[in-house]
Amino acid sequence: MTAVEGDALLDVRGLTKTFPAPQGLVDRWRGKPRKVVRALTDVDLTVRRGETLGIVGESGCGKSTLARCLVRLYPADRGSVRYAGEDVLSLGGDELRRYHRRVQMIFQDPFSSLNPRMTVGQVLREVLTVHRLRPREGMDARVTELLSLVGLPAEAAGRLPHEFSGGQRQRIGIARALALEPECIVADELVSALDVSVQAQVVNLLLELQEKLGLTVLFVAHDLRLVRHLSHRVAVMYLGRVVEVAPTNVLFERPAHPYTRALLAAAPHLDPAHRVDAPALSGELPSPLDVPSGCPFRTRCPHAFDRCVTERPELLDVGAGQQVACHLFDPAASAGGR
């Protein structure tokens, strides 16, 4: 595999996804227009081969929906996703199965992401059988190999999920995804349900496997410290939009978007000497049922001006690989309130 930096593996353009909000019968008969949750709006994003792209944001920002659209768990409303040039959203049947061999997902909840009735061995063997990856004779050896890859003993194959701790279950989830020998892994809050000391174990495993297998990783998480540690680049999302993308060091040292700056400031710093009295950001997150016009962040933004209400800022290059969707950084117009 030629892992060239900058070579786009996944290319997302204008991806939009809405969910219909639940509506009562009476409102439906009255012909009230059905409200929609705007989970993703015109998301543009590129994942490069071999990199770890972190995706951060608060609840309702759409990061999990994005992950699920990329692995085709949710159908997208609009937009395109290209994987190595191939149109992902139109794949069906065998083509979709081949896509899933290349792009796998690891889930958040160590307690519900494994079928409680299947032993670990059955889980792994099923994947190998369905995809005809190993003849019957080679199956057991491969199961053992996969288990040892994620640091579990061969005996684990005979056990049911409830016999494992949270961290061990996440390892099983990783082994299940790796059974398909994918090129790309979408990890949705991989370690957020685990204790700090166990988180570190699983993070190390991910780093090690990425090195060994040359994986491309989409690391969706809300823990900024972990995202900073693992990612080559980071995308920040807010209410269904990508508001900033940048190489990790640039994003954390020179955050551009006012939301990114607030998000970084709000994350509790580990140094007690580094305390601030005022909260980084006032106001509540707007509901994704009712996304503000123009810039979604304008209702909480300290720098908002007229243009932010009327016009949606596009994601623009500001140099050093950094892209920002904010009118303050639009060179075409002289910004008002910088």
């Binding site: 700090v196 570190a200 900073r228 693992l230 305390r275 509540e284």
Partner: protein, 332 residues
């Protein structure tokens, strides 16, 4: 620390929870003092006993859970106090807020009714005065247009607003102590930031003491004055917050801090604590952290090391506290 000046004095607190597979000794001989106006962090991972301890302080455990020891408040031991007498303290002088405001708030009563209920029960304030006070309280916790929002039900509030409302209800009785059980764990980081600042401001304004249970070391660093670290049902280290983060004096605390990603070491392997916590149905011999400890020796086995005072206001239960390296130093 002299016991005379403490608001809450906890001695030899033990909590035993019967389970189908044997008795779980969830809290084992916990001692601490809560001083006036301080924020004391009770930190630990899941199963460390931090929440169980917090609940025991207010007598919230029911049979068949067994609680023994002393929790002294205002000269009385709250452990084993009859429910009727306990109610004069619980919710009145010691209030509690929880992780999930949606389940801790009554869904069929308005926020206003829930605040006024507390005012009537514990302060004897009713009618107009209660309404005025309720508005004042909502305003105090930073809910905009407080007067109109009193009529709202919990489901009409967002997550952060609910947590604010729960704090307002807890404050209605003007408590001297606020017990907070992971109050920001369910919240987004920008909202967590707001709630933590709010707690600190209220502590300042009202002169309350706060016990904050959390698993998040960042939250500890940002809000606590003193920290008590729990492991396997015991306090293993207590220290002022600055000291704790600068130089932990227990191998477990050190391990926790070290397992966090370090800004300088991009994509380098982290340093996890190996293994997992012991099963408290089977009381461990010697130091409970020994099987996972990088510094353990035979000296750690024998009797379980007690929490011994060090210089200043620190105490540790680590036999090798003097040999521990600083957080940043690399283990060979």
């Amino acid at each position: 620390m002299s016991a005379a000046e403490s608001v809450l004095r906890v001695r030899d607190l033990d909590v035993r929870i019967p389970t189908p597979r044997g008795e779980l000794h969830a809290v084992r001989g916990v001692n601490f003092d809560l001083r006036p106006g301080e924020v004391l962090g009770l930190v630990g991972e899941s199963g460390s006993g931090k929440s169980v301890t917090l609940r025991a302080l207010l007598g919230l455990h029911r049979k068949p859970v067994r609680v023994t020891g002393e929790v002294t408040y205002g000269g009385h031991n709250l452990v084993g106090m009859p429910e009727r007498k306990l109610r004069d303290v619980r919710g009145a002088q010691i209030s509690m807020i929880f992780q999930e405001p949606m389940t801790a708030l009554n869904p069929v009563l308005t926020i206003g009714e829930q605040i006024r209920e507390n005012l009537r029960e514990h302060r004897g304030v009713t009618g107009r005065a209660a309404l005025a006070r309720a508005t004042e309280l909502l305003d105090l916790v930073g809910i905009p247009s407080a007067a109109t929002r009193l009529a709202d039900y919990p489901h009409q509030f967002s997550g952060g607003m609910r947590q604010r409302a729960m704090i307002a209800i807890a404050l209605a009785s003007e408590p001297r102590v606020l017990l907070a059980d992971e109050p920001t764990t369910a919240l987004d980081v920008t909202i967590q930031d707001q709630i933590l600042r709010l707690l600190l401001r209220l502590r300042e304004q009202l002169g309350m003491s706060v016990v904050l249970v959390t698993h998040d070391l960042g939250v500890v660093a940002q809000t606590c004055d003193r920290v008590a670290v729990m492991y396997a049902g015991r306090l293993v280290e207590t220290a002022g917050v600055t000291d704790l983060f600068r130089q932990p004096r227990h191998a477990y605390t050190l391990g926790l801090l070290r397992s966090l990603p370090d800004a300088g070491a991009h994509r380098r392997p982290l340093r996890p604590i190996t293994g997992s916590p012991p099963d408290l149905r089977d009381a461990p011999r010697g130091c409970a952290f020994f099987p996972r400890c990088a510094f353990g020796t035979d000296a750690c086995l024998g009797a379980e090391p007690p929490l011994v005072p060090l210089s200043g206001e620190r105490a540790t239960a680590c036999v090798h506290h003097a040999q521990l390296p600083a957080v940043g130093e690399v283990l060979v």
